[in-house]
Subunit: 339 residues, 4 copies
């Protein structure tokens, strides 16, 4: 860590600062430049509070040299993490396809979709019971009833379930859910993350719309710091000025995360752009970039979808996308386990 | 609301769609263009689910003509809302200054800061007990103890309290807090917003880092839909590519909100830029743009601040800023009530 | 095109507006909503000046239904454009690899790189003679001398040349250049685009750092409107808040452009992220997403590179990337012609 | 400047790098951390090419400690620059109001607007002769004829002229223009900037839509490096995800620029938001934040405006805005000279 001092910083203030830093167990060096002085800090700087440091009147800026994340850092865990969920594996050569409707609506709907996506090759069923909606006047999901319907679909097909949690108050309701999803809007709901750190289920952590890759890793760190190391990262598009797509898929995040972290990374092309016509090319791009899975919205009757229909494929369209995905996985030597 | 149909949309699908829309109580008109057809919808479109509509195979795009917010809409509430909190008022000519440290640390600290900011003219004490921190390894705030210290400072000075809630589980702890703050990261924590809609305290709703003004108003709508109409909007900077400031203060949001909504709007120049040297000019800009208040970080000993120190003024610096603010409020004919 | 009128727009003003619109040869319809009226316009709206329309006191907003681009629009040119450059083809199944150093430095350097990238399979040599640099104190390129060195490398290897133009004053110097590149910073240098519209060389049009896909197509339209329809679009990353990569590669732009336009689209993974370790995964992602080519920086001695070295591969690294690219092109059934 | 080395960087490579840096006249120090080594550079680092440094295989990252701009840096020129243009002054207490239509259309129009804005108190006439338009099918300005009309308006009113240049080919046409404007889209048209560095006219440099404050200062540096130190910075909004305003006015840029640079800074509220209703509050905010002027669009008949009408005030609306501006300038103790 490097601390840049303000010009003309009084000697006694600087000494005071150096003293405090030494007491934190850090080795310090002072370099005097033409205009500015800098202090270099050596030791475990993960726990140094940058804002605290910047609060000192003599400090102009502070810059990290090492990454602030530890548990998620590949440097300390060189091997890929494989997440095992029942008979499924995610990561290090095991590819996953999570599919299903944006919202769970009826038993008939969810079972039918589950059957279709399973037949096409998906190995997890996704579906929203609790729905984060911009407007309080929009359909908010079936809630606990939706979770029950998902479990019925699981029973009918054997597909394990991925579904989103919106409040730590609901955590007990998720006892039979296989993978708990944290949505983009809750990526920095730190109280929820802490709670999930104490449960023993895999967490699918979606990237926030305006969050950096480093912040995203720090949110994974919140979960892992609690003891739950089963975190799956999901890139789902970030907010930019572009308006032709709903969000901008940050495809570079995939190989970058694979380099700096050992956690599995999947891509959600449906939410990333909001356009069904882009699901196939972006799923292929995700595989090519090294992703460990994709999450794709499929609806058995999009014209009646209660939410997010524009980005949902029909089962027939999904069959077509899955054929492409399977061919490419074979080319890349990746494994898609049967559900 | 305008529905743009895809080219070559089959007649029977279009008729089916028109039928469904009519059943929602909307009047429809079909306009045939050279390449595309559009449908115009007349009636209460607030409850129309745009994503639902876009799910129809024949629909290319949907565009609102009217605003999706009702309770917060000036059109239906032409007069400015004035929020009354104890002996204080916020809005329509009544300006508010909320000041205090980022984090509550000790009784001595918070009481001392409270005395200083009160003496300078602030009419609310702000301070963080529950702190949203990017890193799980950073100080997370004193929690319930912090709330107790804030109440001691209130008792000592008479300044009412503004502090942030991070989890709906904590809501009972906030019984004696005067204004509950929802932080930027929780602006779309909809479960929390719904809960706050059922309490009878004023809510300070900070804008999310990547949220549009419309989404921000929809979050106010979540609170107001529950019955709590005492919402204060707080612009605190949005995330852009600029790196010299921590965030970018969207000053235009102030006059724009005052035009489209009747809710009071305040500005937080401390968090918006992260630079103390910008607090004075941006506080002045906020007043000039029509803001109903400012929230300013002040710390009695910034060099020991446990969080966000770089943006905290010393009490002496705050005295200087308050002199400017008072002169400008007098010039603008706005009232700053004594605490 | 849809014109949304302000509430309470006076009848005579509206009639005046309708009259003007009719005189432009457009068919108008007026729809009266509960709060607002809208006018729908049918006919050739490409030439309607939206800002002009919005200037009318009675107009609240104007929304396009049809795209503002014509020459670049796939709707009017359903078949893919293939750009033929000497013995090379780009588009519709013909993939291109343009490689070389960021800056041309010496004859030895450029010839050596040209030989290496040709041997690896590249079919164009790229290299900067005129360099857009943020700082006036940085190396600005060899200029005309750099162009001469490129032509020497062309003579030595047979590789055709792609290089950037920075000023319309230099256009005669580019007489022997095979493809003229317009850099991101000049994407809306309209005077330059107009001039290039009158030359008969293929233009590689890079996307501006903050430009929408629609603006990018409109810049292609500037060139095509002048008669030069040989435009190759190059996605090279857009500016977002993410700091781990230099820019954010908008991979969705590739399939989206292929859908709405008939022009070839290539991807520059080197400039998009500024990280050599991402060049291979992002080149693969580009192919998977349907790109017609990639532009990759290669330098024979990156440690002495005068500009942009961090993103340059060594020739050995490039060999490795090309092996992946070739295998994937074979899998996708695309053709990479020999230079 | 700080150079962060990669882990495990070979000793001989590091020595080679140190040797090269020493030859640039820089003093180097090597600090060994637990995981990484850093090198600190002391001396004139303005000319160090960061990309060049980053090209070295052993270098992970490079961070500046000092600013890369010199001529525009307040550190080396502590006093405010005052730009003198005929009988007018801009900067250090002298406020300027530049007003007029987006496009020059007819002699009658421009003279009438000039008379009205002069009567209201503006001290410069702005108007576009060469217009940068997104679409080639939109009105492109009257060109040279437009410049002649502006000079007629100058003759009629005595108001000096500010107008935009779009191509270095046109520079001779601007011989009688008083202030040459560089538009946002040309902020990094470096060839144009170099040319303007050799002319002796004040340059109004608008900030690019996606450019950082540092890049903007570097573009000023391009002009100043050529000998022309008369540069006026103009903040006109940056591109963000917000859609309610056309761009987002970065008001913080005003006080920040005043701190780090000695150049005058003005604000263009018309282009920043595209909404006439925001011109008054944002002009006031600009003054409060310390701006040295504003540029405001005024049109004598907005309903016929050929471009950008939505953001143009009528002369009557401008009178009203000017009354506010004058009152506030008096309050702030700033001088608005008569034209």
């Amino acid at each position: 860590m490097i601390v840049i001092l303000k010009e003309g910083a009084p000697k006694d203030h600087v000494n005071h600062l150096l003293n405090d830093l030494t007491q934190l167990g850090l080795k310090t060096d002072v370099i005097k430049g033409e205009h500015k002085q800098i202090i270099t800090l050596i030791g475990d700087t993960t726990k140094v509070d940058i804002e605290n440091l910047m609060a000192r009147q003599v400090v102009e800026n502070v810059r990290r040299v090492s990454e602030p994340y530890k548990a998620a850092n590949r440097k300390f865990h060189p091997d890929d993490t494989i997440i095992t969920v029942g008979n499924q594996k995610i990561g290090q050569g095991y590819f996953t396809v999570m599919s299903g409707p944006c919202s769970v609506e009826t038993e008939e709907q969810i079972v039918e979709v589950a059957e279709r996506v399973k037949a096409a090759g998906a190995n997890f069923l996704r579906g929203g019971a609790f729905k984060p909606r911009t407007s309080p006047y929009s359909f908010q999901g079936l809630g606990a009833t939706g979770l029950e319907l998902l479990l019925k679909a699981k029973k009918a097909t054997g597909l394990q379930i991925v579904t989103e949690i919106m409040s730590l108050r609901d955590i007990d309701l998720f006892a039979d859910v296989d993978i708990i999803q944290v949505g983009a809007r809750n990526m920095q709901n730190f109280e929820l993350l802490k709670e999930l750190g104490h449960c023993n289920k895999p967490i699918l952590l979606k990237r926030g719309l305006a969050n950096t890759i480093e912040e995203w890793l720090m949110s994974a760190e919140y979960i892992m710091a609690g003891g739950n190391t089963n975190v799956i990262m999901c890139e789902r598009g970030i907010r930019t000025y572009e308006t032709m797509t709903r969000n901008t898929l940050d495809i570079s995040a995939v190989p970058l995360l694979k380099q700096v972290s050992h956690l599995p990374v999947i891509v959600d092309p449906s939410h990333a752009t909001g356009l069904t016509s882009l699901v196939k090319p972006l799923s292929k791009a995700a595989i090519a970039a090294g992703a460990d899975g994709v999450m794709i919205e499929v609806h058995n009757c999009p014209s009646k979808a209660l939410s997010d229909g524009a980005q949902s494929l029909t089962p027939d369209q999904f069959d077509n996308v899955m054929e492409s995905i399977k061919r490419q996985l074979e080319f890349e030597g990746k494994t898609l386990l049967k559900a």
